[in-house]
Symmetry: C3
Subunit: 667 residues, 3 copies
């Protein structure tokens, strides 16, 4: 891809007449759409009968798009195998946790681990790659579509065999599995791998290890499928490959993107959940560090299906979303979908153009996005998003552990988003980073809601701290082993507790016990399953008042080399808890020397970017209320080519501004 | 049937001893029961072993009832096939949407499309008809019982074949089905009809066309079963045939009653839901225009099963229900049930007589009904219910479309009842009419909540308007094709938009967008999925304020011949919305010259009837609070044989009055 | 067992290393644990491969425990059959009401009625009994674990056959079953027992008789399994046998304990549900009259699983629980569990010692229990709990009837506990007694919420009244026959109504009808499905005001010999209802001459006990607020060896006191 900003839409030429395709291409040009994503559900069009494959229609469409200045992201159509693959073959279908096999007619109905499915998927992928891989219009690839969005872990017979093989590779002998999982419990004990069941119907809960490992198995398998598809494509195409993912799907995004070329995601967060939108940008930017991400799907106004719909965006919001995304590292901002579908179950979904070829309620917003895109493109493409100084580790494997052990319906995404929102609202620039991410360049690292901390992670975080960083561990982190069992040497594992200089005295649920935590001069009720500490070589920073263990610590701090490790054993709750948590972040951000932070008002964001010589602030009002931020020194507006004085800068409702400062020497 | 008013009860002589049967017949006479419905669950008594059929017991009961002045509605017992038909034959049973086959022991457990079931049903029906068809006591027939009350669309293998045949008849070729349903979406594409699945388990939603067509198929099949039964009965009996239906069941009532002789329904609406009771009268009166309907089942006080119960009626309410029903066109008012059941799952259900042979809490009310029935019978039987001037089109097929596409759990019955309640509370006499109803005689026609408007309907409504009527279309009407897809020529279809002189600019969900609609000097928030209009050859009557498309129209009006067409694109909400909708109805009722309307207070109704020479008002207080209505001129009370002065007439709690006026010349 | 008070814990040596077992035994001694329960899930350890049984590990553990002063309750491990029994054998597994067979990996996954399961269970039980039955440390046995806690009635093919055999034994001929169940309803009629289905999937509710009888069948079968295990154990051991049961499980506790030697239960009631804890003591004391019961499982602080957790106890509460239990007749107070599990699905559950071998948040409370146990042991073991004067009949068979017919989601346990709480809060000592319990010694008998009253029960209660007792019948009692049908001679059966001197006029649900009941000078709204009485030879004590049957009675009273029978037809609701019910209990307790009652403040209890010469009051504050009770005369505190003056005695938060009075001559 040549460096530019993309403004795209999902396009389904296979659903429309030649006349409408021609019209659509012209309309796209008018709307400023410069990239189309095609093909992800079109298997039956490409291969209507088994083995009869004809890609000429798509070759032609890609060429015509290209001739009109529109580039293409080509997809593999594997989420929707044709009727010839599914009809009369329940053994090829996805089986849910109740043992029910899916039928034809929706999507993700086939088991992606089924051998025949894989064989046919490889064949169609090879044909596609061969046919369009060298076309100049094809600037990228998407594997499949939204893996595991509608389904979770398949329970079919194929998966059972693969699961048992996977376990054998992981554990070597059944005895080692038995030991790791503690299967003497409830006489679960297995004599061979082929006896290990899938976590299907049972009178009560399954063993935690079984449940978590089955999720990790499923996540690995779907990533292997993506790898397999990518390998085929690479034989015929140099264009980079991605998948349109989400933290809402049952995938391990870190693993999924490992062998792909760039990250992308789909988001349909409502206007009233702006943090839920922004968190994606701050996370997916870091799955492929140094490479721009794509927003592969978002709505022009509202998402909908036959059975649900979202609130339409207020006028002006779409442009704020797009500018914020570009500023935070997006190369592309793409809609689902170009033309409203006339049939199927997503007929009501918002689009750019209606099924009858007219502008939709979101159309004007699309024009506004395009105007902004053109305006900011030179500035964005000549700069890079700033690495944050504050990092929060995000883990989809932790999501799997929490799905197995949700305590009281805890939801990983909600917990993480709420934690994130706090940092966002403090005006601190932040990265959400996967577990395996390089920690260099960060000053403050937070590790919340990760039941299992790997030795590798702990070692790297320790090194990070020893080199001057501040590492905050918790809440809810470290209490489980890699097999999803409880440690037997110490509550959070001997290694972590030794490092932190604490002994965890007790772990128990604090809600309802009347426990108040006090730290930084503030008090707040404590919540969640909590760890209570006895500081050994650490200082007690937060102390329990009242409750079952008064006087004991829930926040501790210990110097570690040039930095420090902070244990956060509980989650302060309510408005007071929010204040206490912000005080904690504030304190340790200051300790760590965090400077990439502004006083921007809530509802407005500052996205910092760098060129070699400048620091840029892209300031965007997201809430439609307007806001302000204090400029520390005089800046320059590259859009208006005017100086901007130091001091308070107001931004209007949904307004965006860019301010450029000379880059300080010390950076 | 000779013309009289019936007061009836469901009677199960097969469950009781000879002694109790004799007692019951005497008690019926005392309570004023003049018709009994029998036989609908008695298959195992009639045919205890396959092929051993003996109807003598029922012949005898009918004869004895008749000898005591009690006539009989005879039923076919097909909702409950005996154990010899079901045991060991899962392939004959109803299969639910999860693929689970039902077992013996409840009702509607067999698939009514199963060939063997049909054969045995025909045989038992023939035997019944032959045995009792000529008995003088048999004045009517009921086919089966409450079709599809407990089940919806069967997913068995028989239904799969019939469904594919039905599709082939409807679409001719699979290619035409593919085109109509847009099956290129998600590679759903079928090569043959035998590949088209039933809408069973799937990871996400099925294609809208598949889901809606499967409902229509099921509705058609159950009606065919009724037709088949009726044809057999007619070979042996001249008595008219009905089915005890409801808008709550998964049937198309218009189709179901097409080949039956009169309409009837079951209702168990609570006292606090009087509109939910009355709407049935105003609807079922119109399934067989010109023929009285029957209330085949209602409770004397409360319905109940092992797992639920309704609130008992307040004393006095039952009589108001009966008088209102008779006045609105009912020939019969019948209870479920005569004697409380001693066994089964409906033991607790209210009745006339308890299982131990004593009066129930509802018994006194039954005597009051009988007293009123006798008092009003001469007046009712010598008059006919007035056709309303205001008609609302009711469609069970629209209910199917809405079940497929409920947006946000929209419930067809709740939407329609709420709309109806508004007209009722305005004192306007009204008809709910099926889609195919003759429109002559009406002045104002409303067409709300019908996703698909057939060309035939639009043509007849157009003609209605051109001849002077006012036609109000919407909300939620017209936006889908007959295949449950989106139009591709215009949002509501080119034909309707041209007729209305509007272009629909946008369709989107208005909740949460802060949209205010203003019309008739009133403002209200707008709700539901809405259509926003640009008037072309129409006048903008209602305008959007605030929201996403300010200044555009949500109500338009266009003259059409001697009448007009009004588009209502959205549903005003809340108390303000209620006022706005009433203003709309008020305006167009006035425009249309609606006169069949009184100022009756809420909670009291006026049911107008005509004789050749008189107009009658049957005034009934339904809410136990009393009420009043203004008499435009002096009337005459045929019950008391006294004049009633013009002006305000008070009615007491649960009181009913009849006032007779000379019929004006112009009617 | 030699007479002492036990303080125990569930111990799983099979899950831990030799080193930890040794450590645990020492820790147990430190914590004052003197009995361990072992083995209930250890089948796979005892018999890792089919037929290879080795009990030496457990023999050794029991011996070592014994050597350290810790006695053992040995369990049969049948809730968790090993993989060799389950793998590849779906026909041996529990099948739920949807027809789904369970897989391996949780517990209670096998069908306890399966022949092969029974054979293998007998074999392992025999091996266990033979191996450890004569060990001096084994002081008791527990059969299986928490029967039917996670499952209800199995629907497998084995159960189907046994069910049909059970029915044949119960009814003799299919004709008698048809008659009893009223199967002419809905053509349910069966020609042979093998046609009678299990109550599986059906479009609507099954016949009440089918549903209730299937529950009774299941309850009988699980008790037979317990009997079978007990018989095997008794061949090798003289130690008494129990089962750790609960009113929450799908068992008939009266039947279950019939052939066992002592009663025990598990309870995890929260601190805010103290009545839910105490009711177990007052009930299980009476399943084996004259024998102490055991609390076999309770948490030291909180119960939890992967998906839920309870609120931890406040400090001090555990000791109050233990002292109250010992005082109310417990011989043992045991924890689940000793050492937190490191694996499985109950990892988070509270315990005495953590998985890493340290005290938990509940540990200090355990030490407090032990201190109290030692202090009160001499006093408790030399006295017996007083029989109450007030008895409430508790029936798990009634629970089954109510599960079949819950009206509006009525919950048997909640109804009974609420009723119980009222008596408790009035300071009245009480027994909950099974249906078959001897009534001698009681003065007031209450029989609420029992749909079916057996002739035997009625006869014994009648005799009780005739000999001077007061018998209060209702609410919700007597309205169904033994087959779960409605009486046909009178609403509550002729026998009961004749005895009570009333005719039940009506039965109907009173909620929402505005009915007010007035009695004892108080008025209250009435609730539940109610019976309205016409007194014949009885006095009307409670009268309906307003509602549907004003002036009729809902409470009647009739002398019966030297006592009386009181009918309570409805449940007064809300605060006013609470007052009215207390007035009723107060009135009839006084009538009956109840004296075993104090003015103890709510949240504190008095547990009366007797020696030959003394009456003891064990006073325990349960709510952490402190309280008081008036001593009628001077007493003596055997713990402090000091006199306690007559008059008000205060007890502090979670404090317990024992006061000894000379036993009055009249007792």
């Amino acid at each position: 891809m040549s460096k530019r900003l993309y403004h795209g839409a999902a396009f389904y030429p296979e659903l429309w007449s030649e006349e409408i395709i021609e019209q659509d291409i012209q309309y796209m040009k008018e709307a400023g759409i410069n990239v189309a994503r095609i093909g992800e559900f079109a298997w039956s069009r490409m291969e209507p009968e088994e083995g009869r494959i004809d890609m000429s229609f798509f070759v032609d469409v890609i060429q015509r798009l290209y001739d009109n200045g529109i580039e293409t992201v080509m997809c593999t159509p594997t989420p929707t195998p044709p009727i010839w693959l599914t009809h009369g073959h329940p053994e090829r279908m996805y089986v849910d946790e109740n043992g029910t096999a899916m039928g034809h007619g929706s999507r993700q109905h086939a088991c992606t681990n089924n051998g025949y499915f894989r064989a046919r998927a490889a064949i169609i992928t090879e044909h596609i790659a061969r046919a369009v891989g060298a076309l100049p219009g094809v600037i990228g690839w998407q594997i499949d579509n939204e893996f595991k969005a509608h389904v979770a872990e398949c329970m079919c017979a194929t998966c059972k065999s693969l699961w048992q093989e996977w376990l054998e590779r992981r554990y070597g002998t059944i005895e080692q599995l038995n030991e790791a999982w503690g299967t003497d419990i409830w006489s679960e004990y297995y004599h061979s791998f082929e006896q290990v069941p899938q976590p299907g119907p049972a009178p009560f809960l399954h063993n935690s290890s079984l449940k978590t490992m089955y999720q990790l198995f499923s996540m690995e398998k779907i990533a292997e499928f993506a790898d397999e598809q990518a390998a085929i494509i690479r034989k015929y195409s140099k264009a980079p490959i991605t998948h349109n993912s989400s933290v809402a799907f049952h995938v391990d995004n870190e693993r999924l993107f490992q062998h792909l070329d760039f990250a992308s995601f789909d988001t349909y967060a409502n206007f009233d959940n702006t943090p839920g939108y922004l968190i994606n940008c701050d996370l997916f930017r870091n799955f492929k560090r140094g490479k721009d991400f794509w927003i592969m799907e978002t709505s022009t106004s509202f998402s909908a299906s036959l059975e649900s719909y979202a609130m339409p965006h207020p006028n002006g919001y779409l442009r704020s979303e797009a500018v914020a995304a570009y500023a935070l590292g997006a190369e592309a901002f793409c809609y689902w979908l170009w033309r409203q579908q006339r049939a199927g179950c997503e007929q009501p979904h918002g689009s750019v153009i209606s099924a009858w070829g007219k502008p939709t309620i979101g159309y004007q917003s699309v024009l506004e996005v395009e105007e902004a895109r053109k305006r900011i493109e030179p500035i964005i493409v000549s700069s890079r998003p700033a690495q944050a100084e504050v990092a929060v580790t995000y883990s989809d494997r932790a999501k799997a552990f929490l799905k197995t052990e949700p305590h009281r319906k805890l939801n990983h995404r909600a917990l993480v988003t709420s934690f994130y929102e706090r940092i966002l609202s403090m005006g601190i620039h932040r990265d959400l980073i996967p577990e395996g991410a390089d920690l260099s360049g960060y000053k403050l690292l937070m590790t919340p809601f990760i039941h299992y901390l790997s030795p590798d992670y702990v070692q790297r975080a320790r090194a990070f701290a020893e080199q001057g960083g501040v590492w905050i561990v918790g809440p809810l982190s470290g209490g489980r082993t890699e097999h999803h069992t409880v440690h037997t040497d110490a509550a959070l594992g001997k290694e972590l507790e030794t490092l932190a200089g604490v002994e965890t005295l007790y772990t128990y649920p604090m809600e309802g016990t009347g426990t108040i935590g006090r730290a930084f001069g503030l008090s707040a009720p404590l919540s969640l399953w909590s760890a209570v500490f006895e500081p050994k070589e650490a200082a007690a920073v937060g102390i329990l008042e009242q409750g079952l263990a008064p006087g004991k610590a829930f926040i501790t701090e210990r110097p570690l080399g040039r930095g420090k490790i902070v244990m956060l054993g509980s989650l302060p709750a309510g408005d007071e808890g929010d204040a206490l948590l912000k005080a904690l972040i504030d304190r340790y951000a200051a300790d760590a020397g965090v400077t990439l932070r502004t006083d921007v008002t809530q509802g407005t964001i500052v996205a910092p970017r760098y060129t070699d010589r400048h620091e840029l602030w892209v300031i965007v009002n997201m809430d439609g209320q307007g806001g302000s931020v204090t400029l520390p020194r005089q800046g320059f507006d590259p859009l208006t080519q005017a100086d901007v004085p130091a001091g308070k800068l107001d931004v209007g409702a949904f307004e965006y501004r860019i301010v450029q400062f000379p880059r300080p020497v010390q950076n």
